[in-house]
């Protein structure tokens, strides 16, 4: 089973709050691959990238390092699309 992963840092001001978490999950759900998100830093945790509740419970605030892991046929495209969301700061501009 193909795997892909990417390290990113949360860069939007309010962190992974409700709306970005929803966006992330919506994108993750477009792929067949399983998506896991690991949180580093002081309180490490992991979340199912397709569960909005788990994603928001990660409490990934601005500056939190995250690792996106995908496993499945479309793992590579999934990780690219998800990482792009962080680069775009979830459309929040600043």
């Amino acid at each position: 089973m193909p795997k892909a992963s990417r390290d990113i840092v949360v860069s939007n001001k309010l962190g992974l709050h409700a709306r970005p978490a929803m966006q992330f999950v919506d994108v993750a759900n477009q792929f067949k691959s399983q998506v896991m998100v690991h949180k580093g830093g002081e309180e490490p945790a992991e979340a199912d990238g397709k569960s909005v509740m788990q994603m928001i419970i990660l409490a990934a605030t601005e500056g939190t390092p995250l690792k996106i892991d995908a496993q499945g046929d479309d793992a590579e495209t999934a990780v690219n699309a998800l990482a792009q969301l962080f680069e775009d700061k979830f459309g929040e501009g600043e």
């Binding site: 309010l14 962190g15 709050h17 409700a18 709306r19 978490a21 929803m22 999950v25 919506d26 199912d48 397709k50 569960s51 909005v52 509740m53 788990q54 928001i56 419970i57 409490a59 605030t61």
Partner: protein, 579 residues
């Protein structure tokens, strides 16, 4: 087995299985369901998620149009949570492994997440706990609504256990199969109590935390006479209570034979006993109990069941249905008497500070003429279908009465213009439930065809006691000499002007006051159907001469204790088993 003591508010004994109605704004206690019910709970849960999601989608779209996509997007998160497979799986697992109700499983899992939010150090994220509570509440509301729906279409007898019953809930009940109520809160004059007495089924209220000790399907004994509820009784108690149940049925059959006999005293004085009803559904039961007509049709239930104003046609249909069932007997329709209740207050942007002295009843109607007219039109249209009489509630000044009559005249003219038939000389009456009206009864008697004394409100306004406030409810007493003097004067004013006077408050249905009211010269006793036989029994067992003596003696007392003591003694002489 668990024995709980509360306040018995409607007498009788019932043994049946429990249906527990949780409340979405309270902590839901752990409730186990029988193993074969798990599939039902899972199905209820799935349906609740589908329904909640549908509600949220509509809400999101409405809010987005009104306040913009940014705000509406908040509900996207709510929808997202309800589509979150991880959460749905956890809740389903909870139902499966713990054998709990869907309500409890939803509440448990959502509270677990809520706690995680509360533990977050980021303020902004931790604030989102409110969304979690909101989602939980929505799903619970749907689940509880489903169960209410089920209570409208029962296939077997049940007793309903709840924290408190709302008018909208009791109005939708399947009256054939609901055999008793038991609630955590409430008092003698709570809504649950009134409805239970109207239905003639046992009820116990003020049980504290009964809700958390009953699971759906448990066998429960409700003893409304002693104010006791027994959950999962042991075999001995079951035997004992089955005996009680039988005795009760025997007594009821005995009282039923009274139904066809007239309400006539030993010396030939005849009065009329009538019933108070909430809608057409109560008519048959009232007639079986011996009602000679309907002395009070409370039209509020039509508003409460739908949580919206009924249309003219809906009003008309219920009046027409009622008249059909009455077969020519008189029907007094009271116009809308809402206002100070929980339902109306909750709808107001700013609740009134003093609702019982506020914009209620006829005042509310006169402030909303189009609504008032809709009901009056329906009543007038129904007036050609039977013996309809119209009654205005809460009149406190002559001006109010005249205004109400003017609106009614308008309605008649409109119907005239439209060529719709109605009865122009429809009898018009008023409730006497405010001391100002009671004191001016002689003046009012010149302008109406009948009086009906609403003792509950008359007592509340005369004694300045809110009977739903447990701390002062003890001061609420129909036997207070001030109240009795007002009642005496109203009856006197009616008799002198040649108009009929009825009492349609709870006092009319209490055998304790029958001798007194009879002796004061009351023409019509209007009460809940189940109370009719006993009151009739008192009337048929005494003479008018004796009743007058009793009344004269009562009016000489200066304290309610003396009054009650004396009335109890006198009534016991006539019917020893009454008290």
């Amino acid at each position: 087995m668990e024995i709980k003591k509360g306040i018995g508010v409607s007498p009788g004994v019932v043994i049946s299985t429990a249906v527990v109605l949780d409340a979405e704004d309270l902590v839901i206690p752990k409730r186990i369901v029988p193993a074969d019910q798990t599939q039902v709970e899972l199905a209820r849960f799935e349906q609740a998620i589908t329904d909640s999601t549908a509600q949220l989608t509509v809400l999101r779209d409405q809010i987005s149009v009104k306040y913009g996509k940014e705000i509406g997007g908040i509900f996207d998160f709510h929808i997202g949570v309800l589509r979150d497979k991880a959460i749905l799986k956890q809740i389903a697992a909870e139902i499966n492994t713990q054998k709990t109700t869907a309500e409890y499983a939803v509440s448990t899992v959502m509270r677990r997440y809520a706690n995680m939010f509360l533990a977050m150090s980021d303020r902004y994220l931790s604030e989102r706990v409110k969304d979690i509570y909101d989602i939980e509440k929505r799903v619970l509301k749907v689940l509880i609504g489903q169960k209410q729906e089920d209570l409208a279409h029962l296939t077997r007898d049940v007793v309903v256990i709840a924290h408190d019953l709302l008018p909208s809930q009791t109005a939708a009940l399947d009256r054939l199969h609901v055999r008793g109520f038991a609630t955590d809160v409430g008092g003698r004059t709570s809504h649950t109590a009134i409805v239970a007495r109207a239905m003639g089924i046992p009820a116990v209220v003020g049980l504290g935390n009964l809700m958390s000790e009953v699971n759906g399907g448990d066998v429960v004994i409700i003893d409304g006479t002693r104010g006791v509820v027994i959950v999962n009784p042991d075999p001995d108690q079951l035997v004992e209570y089955r005996e009680d149940e039988k005795k009760q049925i025997r007594m009821e059959t005995e009282l039923a034979t009274l139904a066809t006999l007239p309400a006539q005293t030993l010396d030939g004085h005849i009065v009329s006993v009538q019933a108070n009803i909430e809608g057409p559904i109560d008519v048959d039961e009232s007639l079986i109990r011996g009602a000679e007509g309907i002395g009070l049709y409370r039209t509020e239930f039509l508003y409460l069941t739908k949580q919206a104003e009924p249309t003219e046609e809906e009003h008309f249909q219920s009046y027409a249905d009622t008249l059909r069932r009455l077969g020519g007997r008189p029907l007094v329709i009271r116009t809308l008497d809402l206002g100070a209740d929980k339902y109306t207050q909750a709808q107001l942007v700013s609740p009134e500070r003093n609702p019982f002295l506020g914009d209620r009843s006829i005042r509310m109607c006169l402030h909303d003429i189009p609504m008032f007219k809709r009901q009056l039109r329906a009543i007038m249209r129904a007036s050609v279908l039977g013996d309809v009489r119209i009654m205005f509630p809460m009149i406190s000044t002559l001006m109010e009465l005249r205004q109400a009559r003017m609106v009614l005249n308008d309605v008649m003219e409109e119907l005239e213009d439209e060529g719709i038939p109605y009865r122009r000389e429809i009898p018009i009456g008023m409730m006497i439930e405010v001391p100002s009206a009671a004191l001016m009864a002689t003046d009012f008697a010149k302008e109406v065809n009948f009086f009906s004394i609403g003792t509950n409100d008359l007592i509340q306004y005369t004694l300045a006691v809110d009977r739903t406030n447990e701390k002062v409810a003890g001061l609420f007493c129909p036997a207070h000499p001030s109240v009795l003097r007002l009642i005496r004067d109203v009856i006197r004013a009616g008799v002198r002007s040649g108009i009929s006077v009825s009492v349609c408050g709870e006092m009319a249905g209490e055998p304790l006051y029958t001798l007194l009211l009879l002796g004061l010269g009351l023409n019509i006793f209007s009460m809940n159907g189940p109370d009719i036989p006993e009151v009739k029994k008192v009337i048929r067992s005494t003479s008018m001469e004796h009743a007058k003596l009793v009344a004269r003696r009562v009016m000489s007392f200066d304290s309610e204790r003396q009054v009650m003591h004396f009335l109890r003694e006198e009534t016991r002489k006539i019917i020893p088993e009454a008290f």
